[in-house]
């Protein structure tokens, strides 16, 4: 291993602990420096709490791509929970923090319900509405919240019987910030952080890789809400009283501006944004009349000039100057496609076909895209599906992989029914797929794409990921090695650090296969893998698929390149108008009268059937390929 690569490994290992120490050191110094001034101490406290909210919001909006314009609502719930328990029920303040966290987690779960169904402007409005509901309750229901006057006095928290000073409370807040940064950074760089990015990038692809999209979105809302709730709870302690005034839509927008200006999705961006905007906010306190104008202008400016945020933009520049991310591992262990005895899911040696479709049908608004299709895929074979455009091939693949539900009929994998189950569960059963129109995570590197594909082979739980335990670290290291080996296996070793969307089309197809194969599926579904490839690339693809089959993987693929189909397949099923027209070995299918008629038409039907230009071209290919 080269010195540079070793340096990269060490940096990866120490990133979170170093961050923890750095935050503690810098934060404590700042608190100590301002220790005696109550005014400045409050600013420091608010800055710290803003970092906590922004870092949590970053997980939701920056990483998982779910816009929230309602985080002031969670902040308010945290603050009011503490205020009510302390003022009305004489709870010790620190005991209220976990209650605030749990309550916000529950509300996060509740707010995730509409978020699971809607996107974009709808989600924005829902979250705005949530923030307004909380504010409205605080104002309009004085029996509970004491209305506009608010709740007070909230004494400073006690530890060991002694009331903390404001300065000491600030040390506590610094510790919370350090913990926040440690956990969010660990999470972002973990298996679960990758699932958040995957859901952001392409929900369909994420599901096909075994990622439970619904659960992941809920997770993002809950975690993000908890950070805001804890911060709000401590805000009540810092402030000494809680009233509805601070918890406006403007505060939610301010939190979001912190994330965006710093750099949505980056670990340290929210820290930068929170510090900068808290300082700016204090500057503006004498110009209160222009606050919203300034924030709106800043947000607009940020969207125009630095859409990746300050931190994201700086890092992008650095990367362009050749400091490629540390993917330079000198020697990679060759990836062994062998499913072997210790692989997660060895192909069972049992008899009977691996995949069986029984009388599958799918109708779209009366049109039967797939009409009573039955066929079987034998274990360890390469099985092709061919047919003219619109024959229902992709729909068939969608039915098998769970992207669509069959109208009637069954899909059995090694005898177990798949039809009607969600995509990610089917992936878990060992069915992986690629997409005709490519569904890569275009903004992530090739390496990250494959790492997401390895999701099912990793075991770290969310709490483990937040803590980044040594076991998690070791697992990450192993996954990374395997992902690099996989990239080398498909011939993309040099592209590990490249943005997937920047790869040429042929490499993108190979990357998608690497990502699908990563989970070591029993059944690999490929939807037109050769589309857009040149002859050399098609040959390489053919060799790749053969190697996977030789290692025990079963492959079902749709393809228009007939020479590839004929060369590669053990068996071919021909679809036409949603029905099985013929099935057999490549040679049998080629000489099948019905197939020839479907592709060419016969003397009996002299008028060519419409939209068959492509099909005629394919038939020529058959003839070309086989003399």
């Amino acid at each position: 291993m080269s010195a540079m690569a070793r340096g990269g490994v060490v940096a990866r290992r120490l990133q979170e602990p170093l961050g923890l120490v750095a935050v503690l050191a810098v934060g404590s110094s700042v608190v100590w420096w301002y220790g005696l001034s109550a005014y400045n101490s409050r600013i420091v406290a608010v800055m710290g709490l803003s970092i906590v909210v922004a870092a949590g919001l970053n997980l939701l909006t920056g990483v998982a791509g779910q816009l929230s314009l309602g985080h002031a609502g969670f902040y308010a719930v945290g603050a009011y929970t503490t205020a009510m328990l302390v003022v009305d029920h004489d709870w010790p303040l620190l005991a209220t923090v976990p209650v605030a966290a749990v309550l916000c987690a529950a509300l996060g779960l509740l707010l995730a319900a509409p978020a699971l169904r809607v996107q974009g402007p709808y989600l924005a409005m829902v979250t705005i509405a949530f923030g307004l509901i909380v504010h409205d309750i605080a104002v309009e229901f004085p029996d509970v919240t004491n209305g506009p006057a608010g709740l007070f006095p909230i004494a400073l928290p006690r530890i060991a019987g002694r009331e903390l000073t404001l300065e000491e409370l600030n040390y506590l807040i610094v510790a919370v910030v350090a913990l926040t940064m440690y956990t969010t950074s660990s999470l972002i760089r973990s298996r679960w952080g990758r699932t958040l990015r995957a859901v952001h990038g392409n929900e369909l692809a994420a599901g096909s890789l075994g990622i439970p999209v619904v659960r992941v979105k809920r997770l993002a809302f809950v975690i993000s809400a908890v950070y805001a709730g804890v911060a709000g709870s401590l805000f009540a302690a810092v402030n000494g009283f809680v009233n509805p005034d601070p918890f406006t839509l403007e505060l939610s927008i301010l939190f979001l501006v912190m994330v965006i200006i710093g750099g949505a999705g980056s670990v340290w961006g929210p820290v930068f944004g929170a510090v900068a905007l808290t300082l700016l906010d204090r500057r503006l306190s004498s110009l209160a009349d222009y606050r919203l104008l300034v924030y709106g202008g800043l947000l607009l400016l940020a969207l125009y000039v630095v859409p990746d945020g300050i931190v994201g933009t700086v890092r992008g520049r650095l990367r362009r100057f050749g400091r490629a991310p540390s993917t330079a591992v000198a020697a990679v262990e060759p990836w062994d496609p062998d499913l072997g005895p210790d692989a997660a899911r060895p192909t069972p040696a049992g008899d009977g076909p691996l995949l069986e479709a029984r009388h599958l049908s799918k109708s779209f608004a009366g049109l039967r895209a797939v009409d009573d299709v039955s066929f079987a895929v034998e274990r360890g074979r390469i099985h092709a599906i061919v047919g003219p455009n619109g024959a229902g091939k992709t729909t068939l693949l969608n039915l098998i992989s769970g992207v669509e539900r069959p109208t009637t009929g069954d899909v059995l994998l090694a005898g177990a029914p798949l039809a009607g189950r969600p995509t990610h569960e089917i992936a878990r059963e060992g069915v992986a797929r690629t997409f005709q129109n490519l569904a890569l995570f275009a903004d992530l590197t090739a390496l990250d794409n494959v790492l997401i594909g390895l999701h099912l082979r990793a075991g770290a739980s969310v709490p483990q990921a937040l803590a980044r335990t040594p076991a998690v670290y070791r697992e990450e290291q192993a996954l990374r090695d395997e992902a690099l080996a996989l990239l080398a296996f498909v011939g993309l070793a040099g592209d590990a650090g490249t943005r997937a969307g920047d790869l040429p089309q042929g490499h993108q197809r190979l990357l998608e296969i690497a990502r699908a194969v990563a989970s070591r599926p029993r059944l690999l579904l490929l939807d037109e893998p050769a589309a857009g490839l040149n002859h050399t690339e098609i040959d390489a693809l053919g060799a790749l698929v053969s190697r996977l089959r030789d290692a025990g993987m079963t492959v079902l693929f749709i393809e228009h390149h007939m020479d590839l189909v004929m060369r590669l397949s053990d068996r071919v099923t021909v679809l036409d108008y949603g029905r099985v027209l013929a099935e057999g070995t490549p040679a049998e299918v080629q000489s099948d009268a019905a197939v020839v008629e479907a592709y060419l038409g016969t003397a009996a039907s002299p008028t060519p059937r419409p939209e068959r230009g492509a099909a005629e071209h394919q038939t020529k290919e058959i003839i070309d390929a086989h003399g």
Partner: protein, 289 residues
């Protein structure tokens, strides 16, 4: 009871007008203006300044306000929406129009003060009694205006060339572009119409509430709730949903208590989107893999 419902119909008509504005831009450009509520505010203030302070005749002040706000909406479309509308995600134009909305609110405060102002109704304040219901004349005017405006809009969309072009784009953007309908012009036109609707809503609403720089926020949320319940693409659905929403809100405020008035709309929007995000009249969108 009937009285409560009637006042709900008046407010509901306002929500419907603002929601129609949402629908215009959504069906043509798949974008929304989160500053739509602030456009209502600007419309009301411009009308107030011209009519009450400067003494313009009401109709002239209203027309001037509609034109000014329509232009403002086009500016917003050019500056804050168009540059971000091509992205894959909607986060860009959502945030940019949110930014515009808080800036407009701030500017409104600076230009016209923090205090809420009264806008005397052009049709007088003395209650009229018809079939046992006593109504403010302005409430009747609002209902009449909704009918006129929706009528004019349907005639424009159905009969005029540009109206038909809008309809064409709403039905199939790509085909419309192939037919030579310039998408940029259509987008600006849709925003102009939605701005005009917002200004009209502002002037009609002003006499029954107060005019203030902060009047836009709750309006925009409620109108969006209406648009969502109706399914953003259905004009008739929006008018019906707006009126139904206004009535429901009035009933809630009357029988549960006024503190529930705003919460009702907010909870409704969360609930509708959690249960039936495509709206009652909406159609599910099929995404091809």
């Amino acid at each position: 009871m009937l009285q409560v419902l009637a006042s709900g119909v008046a407010l509901g008509s306002i929500y419907a007008l603002v929601a129609l504005g949402f629908s215009m831009t959504w069906v043509t450009t798949q974008t929304l203006n989160f500053a739509q509520g602030e456009l209502v505010m600007v419309g009301a203030f411009v009308g107030l300044v011209l009519h009450v302070d400067r003494g313009w005749p009401l109709l002239a002040a209203a027309l001037a306000s509609i034109v000014i706000v329509a232009l403002l909406a086009v500016v917003i479309q050019q500056v804050a929406v168009a540059p971000f509308a091509k992205g894959v995600t909607s986060i860009g134009w959502i945030l940019s129009t949110v930014a515009v909305s808080i800036m407009l609110r701030n500017l409104g405060e600076l230009a016209w003060g923090r205090e809420a102002r009264r806008f005397p109704s052009p049709v007088g304040e003395s209650l009229v009694e018809t079939v046992g219901i006593r109504l403010q004349p302005q409430q009747l005017l609002i209902m009449a205006a909704l009918v006129v405006i929706v009528g004019l809009l349907s005639v424009f969309l159905g009969r005029s060339l540009w109206g038909k072009a809008l309809e064409a784009v709403a039905q199939n953007r790509d085909a419309a572009a192939l037919a030579g309908i310039p998408p940029a012009v259509i987008a600006a036109l849709a925003y102009a119409i939605s701005g005009g609707l917002a200004a009209a809503a502002g002037i009609l609403l002003a006499p029954v509430t107060f005019v203030s720089a902060h009047m836009g926020l709750s309006l925009v949320i409620k109108s969006f709730a209406v648009a969502v319940v109706a399914g953003l693409a259905s004009f008739r659905g929006i008018v019906l949903a707006g009126i139904a929403f206004g009535m429901a809100e009035a009933l809630v405020a009357r029988y549960l208590g006024p503190e529930y008035r705003d919460i009702f709309g907010l909870v409704l929007i969360v609930a509708v989107l959690a249960v039936r995000p495509t709206g009652i009249f909406g159609i599910r969108k099929v995404v091809k893999v």
